[in-house]
Amino acid sequence: MNTIVPAIGFGIVTASILAVAGVGFTLQFGVTNILNLAYGDIMTAAAFVAYLVTRAGLSVWLALVAGAAFGSMFSVLLNRCIYTPFVRRGTRLFAMIIVTIAVSLMVQNGLLAIFGANFFSLKMPRPASVHFAGMVFTTVQLVIIAIAVAAMLLIHLLLRYTKLGKAMRATAADPDLARNCGIATDRVIDLAWAISGALCGLAGVILVMNVTAFTDTTGSQFLIPIVAVAVLGGIGQPYGAMLGALVIGITSEVAAAIFNPEYKDVVAFVILVIVLLARPQGILSEVATRKEVAA
């Protein structure tokens, strides 16, 4: 019991990182129908941008903004220059996954060529510890939780209360119908890439703020839990991804505390399998059943 309460606290931190990354990933798929497996590598690239910013003597706050901006721009360009031409040629989902894997390898090896096979750390002040309700956080982790909450709130406001959000939801549900209703779906897709890319970049930076040392493969190693979060929540469902992040983040940390840390991922994935057996479309799902991925 002594270790479970702190583990829940640590799980909230892990869930915060997973939520930012998972919401971006699932939003990208929901609106564009592209399962972008280069997502983890774009996270890493954004982390390297943040690293360069802190190396230049600028603050980690600016590094967060730079990482998000890079993720956003890179994702838009990636879609425009690589993914869209394939989509226009009628490339199906499975072939698109292979294209995204190719992009993943290119980004990863590009980073390797530029930065070398080494480990890097963001320059930031050493965090203090904060005790709260039997849980222990560092100031950096509190910042990560705050960033995640703010990002989730903004995404909620965007999707619920703005025209763009409604257009994105409409495009996600049925792009042809949305286009026929006068929605500029190409523009909506661009904006979806920009927003999800910003979340991707932000997730990359907060991930490396938490792990403290990173290399060219750090983001891609984190991709599997991100995909799990998206699938658990119902792929294409931002709210589902938030819930999925909490489930996977907390169960994996509690499992590490009370069972064997070797199996922390296993426990999370056992829960994923059980949930999917009961609800194959994920916890929340409107879109997933209509998407090709469910077929």
């Binding site: 892990t14 096979a117 480990f119 750390s121 792990v211 940390e253 590490a256 070797e262 199996y263 991922d265």
Partner: protein
């Protein structure tokens, strides 16, 4: 047609007789004795081979410069195993079939050892392996010799170092990969044998975003020291979270933690001051000083034409042990007065084990002179003393090092005798 066939057969018969008389003739020059460099030169572990060349070539150079062995010159021949048993087995068979003057091999490595050690042993080929596999800790192969420490031996060295520092409660933080886990049984056994208790021992899933729950679990067991072998990212995350939650504890790592990527990652995560204060790593003892090393290094640097960038192997413990292995084989041949492996193999032990009245030699030339003078010798290698146990394993010594101001500083050592005593 029949005439042509008959003529051809006659010509072949004449050539065969000529060849036989040539190979058996007493006036022909002595054959060159071959040492096979039996390791990967291509494939994923292609880096192993050149490291071996960096040891074999300088040894051969000095042996030949000092008159060779029983009138024979020696040479190193590359035998590429490609790091794959499927390629290594036919390579071993071909080597044994075609190299009629083969007196021994350097290798095999872990990639191909399980498949080829029995084969080489059956072929009576002395092998100085570089595999670290624990499967050979109690080897009964007569022709098997291991100078480099086995992977699991570092567990003994870590336990001894912690015991010497007065620690009695330790946590074992090792990755769930096979390499790291191979250290754990000997570490736990040795530390317990020395009176200590391993209070936490659970394999870590690598490269997670957080290890805070693991840190809490470890702290609940109140360890005084942490033994570890994890990859750089895991090490950095785990130790920085330990630092944040509790403050660091003394850490004793394996040689993996003394490699540049690990040091950089963890140093960046916990800070240089904490690194210097709390961290120590254990690695095989490979002195870059002393007469044996100086002889090796001089010969290595003079071998530029055969060893590209020879300076890169100056402080390489594996290159040093390959150099030593060739010298040991050559001295064993001299001691046995035979180049027949079946005869001189037993003398490998004789020229390396310490003993009263033995002359300690640090080079082939000195060993050859001492043997010629009728003395018994103990060869002291560039990589340190070689003390084989009954399973033909020489565990060697380990050194402890700290990372201070960007440099790996040696702070002490654990002797081969201490490890051997614990390994009984």
């Amino acid at each position: 047609m029949r005439l042509a066939v008959t003529a051809l057969a006659a010509a072949l018969a004449v050539l065969s007789v000529a060849a036989c008389s040539s190979s058996g003739g007493g006036s022909s020059p002595p054959s060159t004795l071959v040492v096979g460099e039996f390791n990967p030169f291509t494939g994923p572990d292609a880096a192993f081979g050149p490291e071996m060349v960096g040891g074999c070539i300088p040894a051969i150079r000095l042996i030949n410069a000092n008159g060779g062995v029983l009138g024979h010159q020696m040479s190193c021949v590359q035998e590429d195993t490609r790091g794959d048993p499927a390629d290594a087995v036919p390579a071993a068979q071909k080597m044994m079939a075609t190299e009629t003057s083969l007196v021994g091999v350097l290798g095999p490595s872990s990639d191909e050892a399980l498949a080829t050690v029995p084969l080489l042993n059956t072929g009576h080929v002395p092998m100085f392996v570089d595999t670290g596999q624990a499967a050979f800790d109690h080897s009964t192969y007569n022709y098997f010799w291991r100078i480099t420490p086995a992977d699991d031996v570092k567990g003994y060295a870590m336990a001894l170092w912690a015991h010497a520092a007065g620690y009695t409660r330790a946590a074992a933080v090792f990755g769930n990969d096979a390499g790291a886990q191979s250290d754990v049984p000997t570490l736990v056994g040795a530390f317990t044998k020395l009176g200590g208790t391993i209070v936490y021992n659970k394999p870590f899933a690598l490269d997670q975003s957080s290890y805070r729950s693991e840190v809490e679990s470890i702290l609940a067991t109140h360890p005084q020291v942490i033994f570890t072998e994890v990859d750089p990212q895991t090490g950095a995350t785990f130790l920085s979270e330990l630092q944040q939650l509790h403050g660091l504890l003394p850490v004793i790592g394996t040689e993996v933690s003394l490699q540049a990527p690990w040091l950089k990652a963890v140093n960046g995560a916990i800070g240089a001051g904490s690194m210097a204060k709390y961290f120590e790593g254990m690695q095989p003892y490979a002195p870059t000083s002393g007469p044996a090393w100086q002889t090796y290094n001089k010969a290595l640097l003079a071998s530029k034409s055969q060893v590209p960038q020879p300076g890169q192997w100056s402080s390489d413990p594996y290159s040093m042990t390959y150099y030593d292995a060739v010298n040991v084989m050559a001295l064993a041949m001299l001691a046995a007065h035979s180049t027949n492996p079946a005869v001189f193999d037993k003398d490998v032990m004789a020229v390396t084990e310490p003993g009263s009245g033995k002359t300690v030699v640090t080079s082939f030339a000195a060993g050859k002179a001492a043997l010629a003078a009728g003395k018994q010798i103990q060869y002291l290698g560039a990589g340190g003393p070689i003390v084989f146990n009954q399973w033909h394993n020489s565990t060697g010594a380990f050194e402890a090092a700290k990372y201070v101001s960007g440099n790996v500083d040696l702070v002490g050592s654990v002797s081969a005798a201490q490890i051997a005593a614990l390994n009984r």
